[in-house]
Amino acid sequence: MNLHEYQARDLLKKYNINFPTGEIGSTPQEIFDISKKFGGEVVAKAQIHSGGRGKAGGVKLCSTPSEAKNFANSILGKKIVTSQTDSEGVIVEKILITNTTIISREIYLSIVIDPDFESPVLIASSEGGTEIEKMAEESPNKITKIAFDPVLGAKPYELRRVISKLEIPKNAIKDFYSLVNNLFKAFIETDSTLIEINPLIIDDNENIVPLDCKINLDDDSYFRQKELFSLRDKNQENPIETRAKDFDLAYVKLDKGNVGCLVNGAGLAMATMDVTTKSGCFPANFLDVGGSTDKEKIKEAFRILVSDENVEYLLINLFAGIARADLIAQGVVEAAEETLFKLPIIVSMRGTNSEEGFEILKRSKLNIHIAKDLGQAANILSEINKANK
């Protein structure tokens, strides 16, 4: 789950990490009042779950409260499309107003989990402000990475190397140690998978000041981080993905394509996508029902899939292990009848009770095409598609 910048700032404050004073508003009038209270120049930042916000016009330096109000007027309730969002973009419902800071240098700092180290790592670059992927491509030698030990945290002898590479001013070294240790503590205690401070700036007094931050939480930690997860902003998410999540289903909307894919298991889902694409059709989405044996869940999955207007065919590819193919088939039939679904359904089912599953499908009045395996399913799909064009 992503946090908004203003939520991340509040959270990190509890770990003694302090950002320039800021306040959040959700109407132009509120933005005006806050800016006035702050006096002088302010920075207005649209609160959205996406990077690349600055380039997309979501951040503005405002000299007067009226300027801030105008900015708010122009952006609140609108969607912003950035390099990291899909073509629909995400809605702006809140704006963060902060004091300005005199920047002498920008640094990049983040903590992520690195599967190779099997631990959190600190990633730092002496050139902040841009996206780390870009830095990794353009100036990889400016990036340093050190691993956190689960007990020791960042080892001071390694951190010294980072400090020297980042050229942290002498007077700020102690603060830098504290910042890294506090970030790590926050990272662990909040079950984060990413905490990014970008930029961390060195101001004209040689102090280090974090300007912007981003926090991603591990969805699997929901059971013990309920308070943090109450910060979830569903309006920033794709509504269908949200609906699927509420049913404990994994749904992925894809940009092009006309095939709805109902599969079980992430690997098989990807393989289904790969084979479909290879045969010349494109998935519009896919929905992973997992090891589920619950008919209601299958029905919901079906409803979600076909709610996508781009879907012209439904591809069902299952390998039933713990899940039972007959139950899934029954769920599909019921949901299809309920939704009056008439489009072609191509089905490949293997494993537990797949014969019974086929029988149920055959007995139904749906437009069913049965394949013996995924390869054949893709071929059938491709032929129907060609015939229809």
Binding site: I123, D220, F223, V252, G265, A266, R350, L374, A378
Partner: protein, 287 residues
């Protein structure tokens, strides 16, 4: 190594779901000797297998040497630690959705311990020859043979097993190492086992996008594996950034892409099945 005729299995996490999975394993032929549940001491599972309060006690009383974990994610870390402390040689954790911070702790804890972990978020392992399965791979799709299978996926593993069978082969051992970024037994561990295993003549490897484990496997194959390997990577057409978080993309750069993994494994001499539905055919072609 891993499992053999001496394998005695301890099961932890016998809720409704876990019980069903354990029953299936028993039906297949697995020798389950002990169940662990804090509040069922003295009772019997399926009227024959005794419950113990702790894994340590179960091991002491039954000589169990392999553990399987079906417990829900919030309690899975503790179950793994308990089984490690009980000195089980092999621990297979089926549980999905364990917080990644928990797995970091588990891996750190296991550094100087004797147990081998498979998973989590994996279907486990199965030996058609010995009729033993630790986990949830459907027994009826497997048959005894000489292909060693290792996979990051769950159901795609079953698909591969079925294809191997349809191509006229069988499996020496199937190992599902699981889809979580931080897991126990790796591709390399499995490859090393298959290289040494005299029942294994060829190897099928199923990879996925994300991380760099396939590249590490490729490096290892170059210098350590003489047996032929067929592989496929799921997710060649997956959109960037959708499944991989921002974090993963940063660390491994473009290394997480299927194309990079395919390139590395091909360079290491492995045979690529560019269509995941043609794994069996690819295997047939190399013999």
């Amino acid at each position: 190594m891993l499992i053999n005729s001496e394998t005695k299995v301890l099961v932890q996490g016998l809720g409704k779901d876990g019980s069903f999975k354990a029953q299936k394993a028993i039906e297949y032929g697995t020798n389950i000797v002990a169940c662990v549940h804090p509040n069922k001491k003295g009772q019997l599972f399926e009227n024959k297998i005794p419950y113990f309060e702790t894994a340590k006690e179960a091991v002491k009383k039954t000589g169990a040497n392999v553990g399987v974990i079906y417990v829900p994610a919030p309690f899975a870390m503790d179950a793994i630690i308990e089984q490690v402390d009980a000195n089980l040689e092999l621990i297979v954790c089926i549980t999905e959705g364990i917080p990644v911070h928990d797995m970091i702790k588990v891996k750190n804890y296991m550094k100087d311990k004797n147990s081998r972990l498979i998973g989590p978020n994996c279907p486990g392992i199965i030996s058609p020859k010995l009729k033993i399965k630790i986990g949830i791979i459907p027994g009826n799709i497997c048959k005894d043979g000489d292909v060693g299978l290792v996979s990051r996926s769950g159901t795609l593993t079953y698909e591969a097993i079925a294809q191997i069978g349809e191509a006229g082969f069988g499996q020496s051992l199937c190992i599902g190492i699981g889809g979580d970024p931080i897991h126990g037994t790796s591709f390399i561990d499995a490859l090393s086992y298959f290289e040494q295993d005299k029942n294994t003549k060829s190897i099928v490897l199923i990879g996925e996008i994300g991380g760099t484990k396939e590249q590490q496997a490729a490096e290892y194959i170059k210098t350590h594996i003489s047996k032929p390997i067929v592989f496929t990577i799921a997710g060649t057409t997956a959109p960037k950034g959708k499944r991989m978080g921002h974090a993963g993309a940063v660390i491994s750069g473009k290394m997480g892409l299927a194309s990079e993994k395919i390139k590395a494994l091909k360079e290491a001499g492995a045979y690529h099945s560019d269509d995941p539905s043609k794994i069996g055919d690819t295997l047939k072609n190399i013999f």
